[in-house]
């Protein structure tokens, strides 16, 4: 069952990739991409492939649930994969409201990146610690992820808006920050590439090191150590000698992974720039030339409106009910809880700004981007860096 599950996920991943190509094709061919136009053949195939992929991933989810005996949302790999699936699901729903394939061209790559990122974490089926043994695990985590996924659609729409609205003929703060967003996406790809290469090589090296309490410990790197551990002593023969040694309070292994991801990202980004000879956002601009700005602005806002109640329910209300049962208090200022609150406050501010200050269009699109950054921070950084009660998610 577990093997079948992995295969289904792989199939879904490949289908998403192919679907993205078809979404690309659907844009190229069509003139006048605004409201109420019929989707062309390419677009129909793309949407069909997306749905088949989604069903396949749903199959992964169900078979893994059966194999594990609990919903596969209990560790970093499972949760992030589910988030990717929810993203695709949210796109399918929004697609059938607004019927624009351009949104797919921007959402699917994000979903693919999310799933690829997830697969870099240990994929074993993990047992549940006592705090997680509750049906609220399924309810809380899935609802929160679906809410976040719908909010992420507003990011994709916001990105389309910015690519179209920002003048790429001269560099400005806006072109810089939009390109920074593109670079971050490429860096995720860099992380995936570097991790896959080293794990494919089976790279390992061990260090003796001294932690902040002056205890000796052993740490195993799976990538060559650019940043070595505190007072690290290389144990592996022919291992890579660190360039710099980190102080004891820094987690050198994680920092090392970040450095490698950045290197991977910079190389990839450099290559892309070398080939296309302009900013990524400038290269994307022709794709969006037929879309109506007000239309994407509305999709972006609508996604926030649909996603916000779902997020509130899943990430705050269901979370509180479960926390009350598992930890005896519904709110305990655990970092993950606080970051859910921060996300919620941010989108609350977003909606007030839009409603009363008239922050439509580009301002609203930037806010959608920032909102996605906060969601990603909550997913990645809070689990991996600021470990709290939710730290089981970090493995």
């Amino acid at each position: 069952m577990a093997a079948l599950s992995s295969n289904l996920l792989f199939v879904a991943f490949i289908l998403y990739l192919i679907a993205t190509l078809f979404f690309g094709g659907s844009i190229k061919e069509k003139k006048g991409l605004s409201e109420k136009k019929e989707t062309n053949k390419w677009g129909k195939i793309a949407v069909f492939l997306t749905i088949v992929g989604f069903v396949s991933q749903l199959g992964y989810f169900i078979t893994r649930w059966i194999a594990a005996g609990h919903a596969p949302v209990s560790n970093m790999f499972e949760f992030t994969t589910f988030f990717g699936m929810a993203l695709v699901g949210a796109f399918i729903v929004i697609y059938f409201i607004y019927r624009t394939t351009l949104l797919g061209l921007f959402t699917m790559p994000v979903a693919i990146l999310v799933i690829a990122y997830a697969s870099m974490f240990p994929r074993d089926i993990t047992p549940l610690i006592p705090a997680l043994q509750s049906y609220w695990l399924h309810i809380h985590v899935t609802t929160a992820a679906i809410g976040e996924a719908i909010l992420a659609i507003s990011f994709a729409a916001g990105l389309i808006y910015l690519v179209k609205a920002i003048d790429q003929t001269k560099s400005s703060k806006r072109t810089f920050w939009l390109e920074a967003v593109m670079f971050s996406l490429v860096t995720v790809l860099g992380f995936v590439a570097v991790s896959s290469i080293f794990s494919g090589m089976g790279y390992h090296e061990k260090f003796n090191w001294v932690d902040k309490h002056d205890n000796e410990a052993v740490v195993e790197y799976t990538m060559p150590a650019i940043a070595g551990p505190h007072e690290g002593e290389l144990l592996t023969k022919d291992g890579f000698k660190p360039f710099v040694e980190m102080p004891a309070i820094v987690n050198a292994k994680k920092l090392n992974t970040v450095i490698w991801s950045l290197i991977g990202g910079i190389i990839l980004y450099g290559l892309i720039r070398l080939i296309i000879r302009k900013r990524i956002s400038a290269a994307l601009k022709p794709l969006v030339k037929n879309i109506n700005l007000d239309f994407v602005d509305e999709i972006s806002y609508r996604s926030v409106l649909i996603g916000f109640p779902v997020f509130t329910l899943g990430a705050l209300i269901f979370a509180m009910i479960w926390a009350q049962m598992a930890w005896s208090r519904f709110w305990g200022w655990d970092p993950k809880e606080v970051w859910a609150l921060i996300t919620w406050l941010f989108y609350a501010a977003f909606m007030h700004l839009r409603l009363s200050k008239g922050w439509h269009g580009e301002k609203s699109a930037w806010l959608a981007v920032i909102g996605f950054v906060i969601i990603m921070f909550n997913l990645v950084a809070v689990n991996l860096i600021i470990a709290g009660l939710h730290s089981y998610a970090g493995s």
Partner: protein, 539 residues
Amino acid sequence: MNDVKCECGHVNPHGTVLCEACGKVLDETDNRKELLDMRYEGSARRSQTYNKTIIDKIWNFFSSVKVGVWLIIITLIASILGTILPQEMYINLPPDVYYEQEYGWFGKLYYQLGFHDLYGSWWYLLLIAMIGISLVICSLDRVVPLYKALKAQRVTRHEGFLKRQRVFGANSEAEQTDLETVKKHLQAKRYHVREENGDILAEKNRFSRWGPYVNHIGLIIFLFGGMLRFIPGFYVNEDLWVREGETALVPETNEQYYIKNNQFILEHYDKNNKTFEKALNRAGEVVKNYQSNVVLYQREGEKIPGEKPKLKKLEEYKIRVNQPLSFNGYSVFQSSFKTEFKAMTFALTNKSTNQAFGEVKVDLTNPQEKYDLGNGYSVELLNYFPDFEFDDNGEPSTKSRVPNNPAFIFRMNTPDKPKGETSFVAIRQTIEPFGNNTYKLAFKGIETKNVSGFIVRKDSSLWVFIIGGIIFMIGVIQGAYWNHRRIWVQRKNGQVWIAAHTNKNWYGLKRELEAILAGTKLTMPDDQLQRDKEVKEVV
């Protein structure tokens, strides 16, 4: 106050921008061609009308959404600061030691700034309180005039009002049947249609306009629940440790309830479990279950000091994580456990021959004074230090009554030493204060027992949070998933004018209008906002 009478005859309160009844722009100087600002229907909001007294100023301050957004942003940033380092409740050392020791100068600064208890700080609470006030005033400032304006609206609207709607169009050619068709379509789309002199106002989902105010009420109730916690007795939160086999009074229950801990169970996942094999190899031992098998008792009759209470058994329960024991508003949660020393066994031994003359088992919570081993051998316990340490004067003493580090002073009475020999025995050390003894108490073994750690919680304010949460969700859904739409079809100057307004989702409104106008000669009205932009883009 000087109310404003519109030419349509309706009397508007002072400060009204658009006539509540016909929508005419009341401020004559404001006759630009731009689209109308339809927020709050141009009604007379107190904050926009009065700004004289101090109360006006406070009201205006808190009624501003700008202020509200700033409060949210400041709270957001403050909340981020609190997640940089662990908060006070998640550390296991005194904060003045912990932060500097773990995080150096930064940790020290963090502690000195008071960020170790950020969410309990006065300024954080003040921020939350200000958000609460802002919620109340913002809502009142808007909801009352908005309600009045929507209630007073008439079917026939002023020309200026219709023309300056975002979606507007005029038709010269229209047949009488067209209006009938439109009306039918509107009704099919569940519009509430009103007619006056051949003019039509179709409206639906007005209740969605109240969504924001409903969710604000929910939030206010939720915050109010937080305030209730400061009332004594409303909120009980106590730790309770119960050793296996012991019965303990549940705190803060008026000495009504007792809990007996029969057994504490700690289970790990089986390493040979096929499903989790790989994960367990990587992670090592993973706990499967923390459980305390308990019996809940209630005291019977009056409490008599010094007398053992009479207990009535209520129920047996297995308290596990996620499965607290609940009774009469109290909940007992499995929160932790520890292992405690229960008894130590020594053998009275001749040091030179190593011959033993019987064993002494000392119950560490309830030791005997004398242990008779027969044949003239006995051991007296002269002094007992359950949690042994040397005090400031170098004298042995005990830190607590919990046997964390037991130490004893024994007198060993033997036939050949009738006066007895004194020995000080602690873990891994023996001191003979009066010279060399012939006998010793050799350590034989130690028994342990588990102690379950419970949290006793009573939260009478919980239902307030629940109600607040439910109302909030209703309000958010009401405001987010429905749109307040209005369509005016009116005869002006021999033409048929169509105007439409929605509070959001213009795309949906336009799709609906297309369906409503289908099969008639009436043309689809323009989206004037988009047209303006397109003109700009071309220019």
